[in-house]
């Protein structure tokens, strides 16, 4: 081991710049992976935390059937007495609107005429938050981080989380009469957040009207601010508001979850007019009692309207999601490092070609094949190890900086998981070792006599043809994988383990024949353009097709990613998202009532019609991959008549005239077109829907484009989205949902609002919001279809920009590979350049020759990247179609492609520039003397 190690060290240290460039490639990949792993690990922990807070840390929980329904409080007492139960903890969660008279003393608008430099401003702020009623024993099932004060222990007390405090103390940007929230909620990650703070009018001012100094103004702002000891109020129509004393401030839910407030259970029941009602009961079992057996035994004795589930079952969906995410991360890591290992392979192979004589001498002196191979492997391990050493801490530091910058939005600590960092570091070393495999083989194969010979081995066309054939075979394998399987399971697994790697390896190796082709096509024109002697550039590139080809292969990966993202993203936005129909306006909440609907209908200057919608996730087994996820579908339930009077859906199969009577009659549903695409389910087929223990075979009477209601509810995190991951919708009557699946009344979490022709949607939303706020509870969000479409598009575009940045980073990483090649190529040909200069060639000729080679590499990379990106996008299109039923057409985004080509050419020339500049500085004598030794 020692000799091989010493040889590797000596080689690495003798070519410091090139070693450093390879280390930089691995370090950048490792830092990217470490950052992503650290960030997702932290977000996952936060999601788990949120889920545990939502589901509770008990062994089982009792819930009513149907989102938003409630249980009778007597059930908690009964459950506490069941055999095997240690404690049953009652809980009520419901949205609540609270108000606060926000006082600030801030600089006067017009100091010249003001009585004092600082003036009092007062605004009555209101916001909706999820209120939690705390019953004795709540600490055993929920974890709340208290930042100040204490939790409520009796009537008239409230604790607010930091997010609620922030919403109620946003300084109005506009005048108090505008009623426009100055801080809009923005979609970030998991949840778009609920309703932001809203100005609701003027409040009775407190404290002095002015302050003389900044210190005094700040002291007054603090004294009358929202802190422990302050008062907030719960507003009621036609009745005096109820004052609540703030006794504690808690940490906000992580990742921008809904703001939370905490009250004594009876207080909340009274405020929400849910006396004697609970939203769930957490059950803690005695030591040794098996939760599954307990649930099985107890379930039979419970009425249909009550669900009893083990906590493990509820959280298993998320656990599976997190496991899937880990698998996804592992795969992404593999691909990132595979790209790095290709660059290392090219670097080390170039070094082997350059050191043939040196290696032959070593063989003559008694070095075994194994020692030379081993020295290459050590070389790879050194590059990988140093890359990990630099890259992993860099990535973690980057993630820490991002978490610090977005600490308020994320509200989650950075969690460094050992498995993740081991994956990043181990992957980097493995990338080095994989990259060294071919060079090790080449070194071991070298015969001492052949190595000592000064004759260069001619490049055989047969070799290039064979590499090309292998590449085309791999590319064809990818196409076979995406177009042959019909089953989503087969397609997914084949794609992950065969299709995607084949695509990657195929296009990487296609670099060799592609460079030969591009060279043939472009070199004559480039020679003329650059003023080079005829055939000079073409011959130079032809002499080392593998080296140039592999570098082009490494360079194309970033562009391919960019092309695939934009091609696929454009298709999804245009053909799938573009065809979704969103309601003109909507009201979201838990516990909306016919009164709410009636109040909206009264706004007849804006509103033309309304329709109450129930949403329930149900199992269909129509989408997803069996071992990974079987997402549920959303049953969108409505009164068919009113719904179709205000909603125009595009009918893919069937028609309204025949479907409407069947829906009203019962036992029939409409399905979104994704069911037809993914599973071929159409009119006349039966689809089994299951909720808990109830199933029913519904007849499909129409296939329609989705009205986007399920997306609205998901976007605003309505319902138990963490545990019930649902995609695509089926549409049926509320009666069918209640009778055939729930066995209980279906609550109304969403009211769809139709606006009059020409009505201003912003003004309408404001009017609805103001009216519903005055009514008090139950409202989480009022919004317009246009607004949600705009927000989703903004979110989507931001995501595209962020992922494109990753693609540009991948190109940057590949630049180090290009720089490495150019340096090696220049070093290997110094004598040749020296002779050229000695024979009268100018510096310019030499420089243009090397730059011409870089242009050929860039052009080949651009063609390869575009082809691979388009084929990758086609793979994504097929996966979306078969697994998710999302269908869209692919059309090439020429703008981003052209930009990508420009970036590739510029980066390649940029990577070549330092080496070229150094070459230009050398005299012919120095260049010729390079042969010495």
């Amino acid at each position: 081991m020692r000799p091989a190690w010493r040889l590797a060290i000596s080689n690495a240290s003798a070519r410091r710049v090139r070693t450093a460039l390879m280390v930089a490639v691995v370090a950048l990949s490792a830092s990217l992976i470490a950052a992503v792993i650290a960030a997702t690990g932290s977000i996952n922990r936060a999601v788990e935390q949120r889920l545990l807070d939502t589901v509770g840390r008990g062994d089982a929980r009792l819930r009513p059937q149907g989102e938003g329904n409630t249980l009778d409080e007597s059930l908690a007492a009964a459950a506490g007495g069941w055999e095997g139960v240690d404690t049953a903890v009652a809980r009520l969660s419901t949205p609540l609107v609270i108000r606060f008279a926000f006082h600030t003393w801030s600089p006067a608008d017009n100091p010249a005429v003001a009585a004092a430099p600082f003036e009092r401003r007062v605004a009555l702020m209101a916001t909706s938050a999820m209120a939690n009623g705390l019953a004795p024993g709540w600490e055993r099932v929920r974890r709340v981080e208290l930042l100040e004060g204490r939790m409520p222990q009796g009537p008239g007390e409230i604790a607010l989380d930091r997010a609620t405090v922030e919403r109620l103390t946003v300084r109005p940007a506009l005048g108090p009469e505008d009623g426009v929230p100055s801080k809009e909620s923005s979609p970030l990650g998991v949840s778009a957040g609920a309703m932001a703070a809203v100005l609701t009018g003027r409040a009775e001012p407190k404290g002095p009207p002015t302050a003389a100094t900044r210190d005094e103004a700040e002291a007054l702002s603090r004294e009358f601010g929202l802190r422990v000891g302050a008062e907030v109020e719960f507003y009621r129509v036609l009745r005096a508001p109820i004052k609540l004393k703030v006794v504690g401030i808690t940490a906000p839910p992580p990742l921008g979850g809904r703001p939370q407030i905490y009250l004594h259970l009876p207080t909340l029941q009274e405020l929400a007019q849910r006396e004697g009602r609970l939203s769930e009961i957490d059950v803690i079992l005695r030591e040794g009692v098996d939760p599954n057996a307990f649930v099985e035994q107890r379930r039979a004795s419970l009425p249909d309207s009550v669900m009893l589930q083990t906590t493990e079952k509820i959280t298993s969906g998320l656990t599976k999601t997190l496991e899937n995410q880990q698998m996804g991360l592992t795969l992404a890591t593999i691909f990132a490092y595979l790209a790095a290992s290709f660059i290392i392979m090219t670097g080390l192979s170039t070094s082997i070609t350059e050191r043939r004589r040196e290696l032959a001498v070593l063989r003559c002196l008694g070095a075994t094949r194994w020692q030379l191979a081993q020295s290459q492997r050590w070389g790879g391990a050194i590059v990988g190890g140093l890359g990990a050493l630099v890259g992993v801490p860099l990535g973690v530091a980057f993630a820490a900086v991002v978490f610090q910058i977005y600490k308020n939005e994320l509200a989650a600590p950075l969690t460094i998981e050992p498995w993740g960092l081991s994956l990043a570091a181990g992957g980097a070393v493995l990338a080095g070792l994989i990259g060294a495999t071919l060079p090790a083989f080449q070194a071991a194969r070298l015969s001492p006599l052949a190595g000592l010979s000064s004759r260069a081995e001619p490049v055989r066309a047969r070799g290039i043809v064979l590499v090309g054939a292998f590449a085309l075979l791999a590319i064809a394998a990818h196409l076979g994988v995406i177009y042959l399987p019909r089953s989503s399971d087969v397609l997914f697994w084949f794609y992950v383990f065969l299709g995607a790697p084949a695509l990657f390896v195929g296009y990487f190796t296609l670099g060799v024949p592609m460079v030969a082709l591009v060279n043939r096509a472009l070199a004559p024109a480039l020679e003329t353009l650059l003023g080079l002697p005829r055939h000079m550039l073409a011959r130079n590139v032809r002499a080392t097709p593998y080296r140039h080809g592999f570098v082009a292969g490494a360079m194309m990966a970033g562009l391919a990613l960019m092309v695939a993202l934009w091609t696929q993203g454009g298709g999804v936005m245009r053909d799938w998202f573009g065809k979704l129909r969103f309601p003109d306006a909507f009201v979201l909440g838990t516990g909306l009532s016919p009164d709410t609907q009636r109040a909206i209908n009264e706004l007849d200057q804006f509103v033309s019609s309304t329709c109450s919608i129930s949403l329930q996730s149900v199992e269909t087994r129509a989408f997803g991959v069996t071992r990974l996820q079987r997402p549920k579908s959303t049953f969108v339930a409505f009164e068919p008549g009113p719904f179709f009077s205000m909603t125009t859906l595009q009918w893919v199969q069937g028609d309204l005239d025949s479907a409407l009577p069947r829906l009203e009659q019962g036992g029939a549903i409409l399905v979104a077109r994704e069911f037809l695409i993914a599973n071929g389910l159409g009119v006349g087929d039966k689809l089994r829907l299951t909720h808990e223990s109830r199933s029913f075979d519904f007849e499909i009477v129409g296939v329609v484009t989705s009205p986007g209601l399920d997306i609205v509810s998901k976007f605003f995190d309505l319902g138990d989205d963490l545990t019930d991951r649902a995609v695509h919708s089926v549409f049926g009557s509320r009666r069918d949902l209640e009778d055939k699946l729930l066995g209980a009344p279906a609550p109304i979490p969403l009211i769809q609002v139709g606006l009059k022709e020409g009505a201003d949607d912003r003004a309408a939303v404001k009017a609805i919001r103001d009216k519903l706020l005055a009514m008090g509870s139950g409202v989480l969000e009022v919004g317009s279809g246009k607004a949600i479409r705009r927000q989703i598009e903004e979110f989507f575009n931001k995501s595209l920009v962020i992922t494109s940045a990753v693609a540009v980073l991948a190109m940057l990483v590949a630049c180090f590979g290009v720089a490495n090649l150019i340096i090696a190529s220049i070093q290997a040909r110094q004598f040749e350049f020296g002779v050229l200069r000695a024979l009268g060639g100018t510096r310019g000729v030499v420089v243009r020759l090397v730059l011409g080679e870089a242009v050929i590499i860039a052009a080949a990379a651009a063609v390869l990247g575009t082809l691979m990106g388009v084929q990758g996008a086609a793979g994504g299109q097929r996966l979306n179609e078969v697994i998710w039923g999302i269908q869209y057409a692919i059309s090439l985004p020429w703008g981003p492609i052209a930009a990508g080509w420009g970036v590739v050419v510029l980066m390649t020339l940029g990577a070549a520039a330092p080496a070229v500049a150094s070459l230009a500085r050398k005299s012919p004598r120095e260049l010729i003397a390079a042969m010495k030794g």
Partner: protein, 243 residues
């Protein structure tokens, strides 16, 4: 017997042509000393040296170096033999450009896994003896041609191998440096009691050698004992042999 070849034949392909490089060469060197293998370009002398160095295998015949049958050695055995059984000095020095003079000398020992202390001591001793004590930490590009070749000789002496093979060692040196190097190789052969077999086409070298083996068209044409001959006499005998 330090070197013995019997009926050695070797042919190889050059493009479409088959070249018979050696045609039944017999050679015997019984005692340590400085010997030359001479011949015109294309006579087969380098091919013979490659076979003696176990870099290649004969098509026919036997080769023994210090009693070891290298014609029958497998790949690995030949590699290990090259490491410790012989020393090689190349025409173009073939020092590793990224290593210092001392590290180049230590290279065979490093490959054999010898301890760093022993190697350091031995390399210093050899370089000192060859007049390179002050140049040990210099890389090849900072040494003159003669100095580089002395480093290569020190490297060949690392394991005190009984046979040193030199392939045109003065091919890249001027005449004064060449004369110094031949004298050095002769002294090395005497001092270390080793057999130094040098391939050369320069008659001027012959005067330093104990015997000259003359190859012509792949066959051993003659042997010339140089004892009692001056440079002109050796040159005249050699010219007679090669026509």
């Amino acid at each position: 017997m330090t070197i013995r070849c019997a009926g050695v034949e070797k042919s190889y392909r050059m493009g479409d042509r088959e070249v018979q490089a050696l045609r039944g060469v017999d050679l015997e060197i019984a005692e340590p000393g400085f010997y030359a293998i001479m011949g015109r370009s294309g006579s087969g002398k380098t091919t013979l040296l490659h076979l003696l160095a176990a870099l290649d295998r004969p098509d026919k015949g036997e080769i023994f170096i210090a009693g070891r049958p290298i014609h029958a050695m497998g790949e690995r055995e030949a590699t290990l033999f090259r490491r410790e059984g012989i020393g090689i000095v190349f025409q173009s020095f073939n020092l590793i450009p990224t290593l210092t003079a001392r590290e180049n000398v230590e290279l065979p020992g490093l490959l054999a896994g010898r301890s760093a202390t022993d190697l350091s001591k031995r390399s210093a001793e050899l370089l000192d003896r060859l007049g390179l004590g002050s140049r040990m930490e210099h890389r090849p590009d900072a040494l003159s041609g003669g100095e580089q070749q002395r480093v290569a000789i020190a490297r060949a002496l690392m394991f005190s191998a009984p046979v040193i093979l030199a392939d045109e060692p003065t091919g890249n040196l001027d005449s004064a440096s060449s004369a110094k190097l031949w004298a050095l190789l002769r002294d090395v052969a005497q001092e270390h009691e080793v057999t130094v077999a040098m391939v050369t086409h320069e008659p001027a070298a012959a005067v330093y050698c104990r015997r000259i083996y003359v190859l012509q068209d792949g066959a051993m044409r003659a042997t010339i004992d140089t004892e009692g001959l001056d440079a002109a006499g050796v040159a005249s005998r050699y010219q007679q042999c090669v026509g």
